[in-house]
């Protein structure tokens, strides 16, 4: 059986009151077009207030987010420098590889000396 909620004539502007009204409208179960349209319109109007409050809440953290992103720049820079240092270590191993080729040439030389 459909309910006929009392549609408020004014929309509350505080968060708690607006949210409570939205919950009440959500629980309504209109089965006539007139009632459903009234509920839809009231939901839309309450949501304008609630969305605005959410947007203000989100905006309240934007400055702090910008500040903390700046705080992360130095650790990121130092990580990049550490990465470059580690890359140099790997390239030093390549130098060892070059030495190993020298060993081959030494052995080759010895073979010719000994007539092997």
């Amino acid at each position: 059986m459909a309910t006929d909620p009392a549609i408020p004539t004014t929309i509350p502007t505080t968060k708690a009151a607006a949210q409570a009204l939205l919950d009440k409208l959500y629980a309504a179960n209109p089965i006539t077009l007139g009632d459903s349209e009234a509920i839809s319109d009231a939901v839309a109007e309450v949501n304008v207030i609630l969305t605005q409050l959410n947007q203000e809440d989100i905006a309240s953290r934007t400055g702090a987010m910008q500040a903390v992103a700046a705080d992360l720049k130095d650790p990121v820079k130092k990580l990049g420098e550490l990465k470059d240092q580690l890359t140099q270590v790997a390239s030093r191993v390549k130098t060892l590889g070059d030495i190993a080729k020298d060993i081959d040439s030494v052995i080759g030389g010895c073979k010719s000396v000994f007539g092997i």
Partner: protein, 318 residues
Amino acid sequence: MKRRVGTMRARVVWRLSCLSMLSLSTLSGCAVSPLSQRAATFSTAASATVVKMQSAYQLVETTYEEAAMASLVNQFDMKGFDPASIQPFIPAADMKARTELMSALQQYATLLAEVSGSSEVTELDKESEALGTNLEAMAKDAPLTALAKNANMESGVASAAVDALGRVLIEKRTAKELPSILESAQKPIDTICTLLGQDIGTPEGTGLRNELRDKYVELIADQRTYILANEAKMSPDEKRTEIGKLPQLVTAEKQGDATLEQTQKALQQLAATNDVLTQTKKDKDAPAFRALVTQMVAQGQQLGAVYAAASAASAKKQ
């Protein structure tokens, strides 16, 4: 001259074989340090959390748009369409700050993964493999076979010894530099997790979860109105389809909220992982690992001396 060269060559092979045998015995089960492991774990978690957070913002924006669309459909005949009314839920300037923040976090996670023993070690493995091939070819050289047998030189161990040297060098450098970097990033990372978690909010309070819930209330109300306004023009199947969307909207809202809640928990877990990671530097390394590193450093130094001697001998001959 001939005797001196032959003695030098035998000494090189003997030292390599002894060194390699020692290295081989200690390399089994060799692993990166606890610090590197935890850094890699944090890095993976941070990257995954950034993706989840981006999806969270997108989910709510999409739902916001759908609610605007549903309202437009029901009210078009009376109110028409105003293009200026189409706006995102989060204004561009606020979203830009969040996008840049997540990008900074992602960059930090990516670099942390790279210094925690992935790309540099892979490159090291390639170089040491090439080196090992040279040495193994030398060991197979027929005239040296007898010498190699006497010195108990096994194929592949020289490559492993060089690899061990390189890994130790990388680990030592990382262990020295990384802790201070992690410490300087600890508070910013914790703050980021807190701020993004507040953005997600709660269903009854504020934030993305509340906005999602409120928009689904609007979507359900508008869908009901749409059915009642148009049912006379619908076929039975069309009416059935439209009525079927009502429970689907209820389910979608629950699933969306569950996803946002998971993302919120991922942020909390990331902050906890970050704290453990920074704490790692204050903990002593496992004694077994410390002993292993000490041993491998000594062997690495020996290997360096052997190669230096071989290089000097080669230069003298030329």
